[in-house]
Symmetry: C2
Subunit: 412 residues, 2 copies
């Protein structure tokens, strides 16, 4: 069954991959219209998922993520229209040179082909991911969770109707109806039809994909971000940055989970920073030295280093040097976003060179690791792996490349 | 055991990744000296492998690939020295912009970290791969086959001695001593220590890696290259290109395995092309129409389409249109290198846009898909996958990226 979906996607991708910018943008506009015109139908399907969720005892937080409203659907449509304004990543000339033998070689950006996206409860992924895949010339096979199957099916059907009106193949967007674990495993092993798998969801989902996929994976990983307050830090700036990185949205992957404070500044910096955090009801889990300086701190256990709380909790540790901070981060970090607060530019450069992460910050909140904040317009996730793309995955990151070689009969 | 190797490699990669160009080049020079100074020792180890190979009934072709000579070792050393002349891929600024909030964002090339290379009999891979990995700032774990274990061990030991003299960590280059299937499987599942696996070898090895790896893989795949002779082709040029692409080195992945001839030109083109090939003892396996025109052609079976002969054999088929040629290639090709011979520039553009391959050629031999021919200086293989890099893998393709963000206290 999945092989059939794969074949259809591959065939559709051949047409979509050669479509010009205007054709793709017109399709995105028609899909946006279709989403708004069919809002009632999508809401009716969502009501079934919500009802099932309540019956199955789904938590309030998850129900909230599952719930669609007319405004949320308008949001999908708006996001779809916004993507039409972004530059087309296909056809960019990445390199262009002529060899001594006269061969003219161009390296150009082309679509990846077929992208498989495996995601969890939130039905908004269905529309958001489809928009980015279509604009970058990729057919997409979506495989969402069983909790949102009715919502996802309605959204996908409506998007396919928009595609049909645009003249592009409907099969540019397909949804896997089977929501068993077997269908996810089959999708991630569909070599020859699927060119890349992008998991969007929690650590368990990502681990399962990394473990089982034979199709190449772009891993969008967890974030355990650290803020290192250097000996030469501006303490107020450090407090601002840590407060923001921890409390502005604790549930996201670019939120801070641990602060490391240089010993020479700890007695002055820790009280300022911790009182800011305690005022916002952040629990501080510190090592022995932190405990001595901050009476309200709780004792950190070994399991607190490298932990992604996604909550109003922060780990705190005193370090003796920049190198000790770097070692801690390279040992316990997830390679997402890491920050040094310092007025010493050479310390900052050293930290940024030695720390192994997608994004390294000097004097700014880790919360900026985001496609929108980086000016990409939209993103499909944050990559924490080393190959293909690292950091926010925007439209350019959804492309591959092709060498075009122009000759006049050259042989070797 | 392999976890220990992984840990050592990761630690070594931290130092190597921050090493400047001069330090890396000096190390490569010292390793090259070390290889030449220790040629006797390497040859003695190779003699053991050769003797074992003969005892085990290894074929003459494989024995030839296994054999080292003083000249071959000088060749490794020369290749190592050549790599010092190539530009350092680390630190390249890939993007540089300032956001409206004042954040200055730079995207720079950084090493991948630790590269695992799994390869078969040829001991030259040990030295060649190490040179490229070191120059690109990556620690490397080499896992060769049992047939060459003594040669590989000697080469690796000698390279480590050169590294030691240079002051860089010896563990920048390590060899897995265990040559069982289990050690290869363990290496490709060493997430957290190994950042990418590159298999170098035949289809069986590559399939095993794709099937079993949990570490990201850069697939260097097989090549089933096609030459399409368009209706508007220059027939003599087509004959030159097909002759070269088939016979200049039939065993390599960029050699042609199939020619597709437009029906409108078949009766004129096929005799010219086929007689050139038959003169060089190339066996032609044709479809019915080819058989009618070329009496010496043998009948092609279904298994001949998409087959990598690596031999003096070529498949041949008459097609009715450019689209039929494209469909055949996208169905049976391996996405390596594909060529159109035509005097019609718009037909060439259409072919190059529609064919899904790493390299698409207009009027030139597919044999040019090679790092050296593309001006990269050296390559570690040809990627036929879509993510990270496609086509020849040179030094730039052995790097990842990192965002460096410079702020003045910005919060979100």
């Amino acid at each position: 069954m999945l092989t059939e979906l794969g074949k259809k996607a591959k065939i559709a991708s051949r047409t979509l991959g050669c479509a010009d910018t205007e054709t793709k943008n017109r399709a995105l506009m028609l899909i946006a219209d279709s989403l708004e015109e069919n809002a009632e139908r999508i809401l009716a399907a969502n009501a079934v998922d919500m009802e099932n969720g309540r019956k199955n005892g789904m938590s309030k937080a998850l129900l909230d993520r599952l719930a669609l409203t007319r405004e949320r659907i308008a949001g999908f449509a708006g996001g779809m229209r916004d993507v039409t304004g972004l530059p087309d990543p296909v056809g960019r000339v990445l390199d262009d040179f002529t060899r001594p033998n006269g061969l003219h070689i161009m390296k150009v950006a082309v679509p990846l082909g077929v992208i498989g996206i495996i995601f969890e409860a939130r039905p908004n992924v269905t529309a958001d991911a489809a928009a980015l895949c279509l604009k970058s010339g990729n057919a997409v096979i979506l495989r969402g969770g069983s909790d949102a199957i009715n919502s996802n099916t309605a959204i996908c059907d409506v998007m396919r109707e928009g595609l049909k009106r645009s003249g592009l193949p409907e099969d540019c967007v397909q949804l896997v109806q089977d929501t068993t674990r077997e269908s996810a495993n089959a999708l991630m092993r569909l070599n020859g039809y699927v060119d890349v798998i992008i998991p969007r969801g929690g650590a368990g989902l990502i681990r399962a994909v990394v473990e089982n996929a034979t199709v190449p994976v772009i891993e969008t990983g967890a974030g355990t971000c650290h803020i290192y307050v250097d000996r030469d830090a501006d303490i107020d700036m450090a407090a601002d940055i840590i407060d923001n990185a921890k409390t502005s949205r604790p549930s996201v992957c670019n939120a801070a989970e641990c602060m490391l404070i240089h010993r020479d500044i700890a007695d002055k910096a820790l009280p300022v920073i911790c009182h800011r955090l305690l005022d916002k009801n952040v629990e501080i889990r510190g090592d022995r030295e932190v405990m001595e300086l901050i009476s309200q701190a709780k004792e950190a256990g070994n399991e607190d280093w490298g932990r992604e709380y996604n909550d109003y909790i922060i780990a705190a540790k005193v370090v003796g040097s920049l190198d000790e901070a770097v070692d801690h981060i390279n040992t316990y970090g997830t390679g997402h976003s890491e920050c040094i607060v310092t007025e010493n530019a050479s310390a900052a450069e050293e930290f940024m060179a030695k720390v192994d992460a997608a994004a390294v910050y000097h004097n700014a909140s880790t919360r900026f690791t985001d496609g929108g904040e980086f000016g990409m317009g939209a993103e499909i996730g944050i990559s924490t792996q080393k190959i293909h793309a690292r950091g926010p995955l925007g439209l350019n990151e959804l492309t591959s490349m092709k060498y075009k070689i122009y000759g006049g009969g050259q042989v070797r």
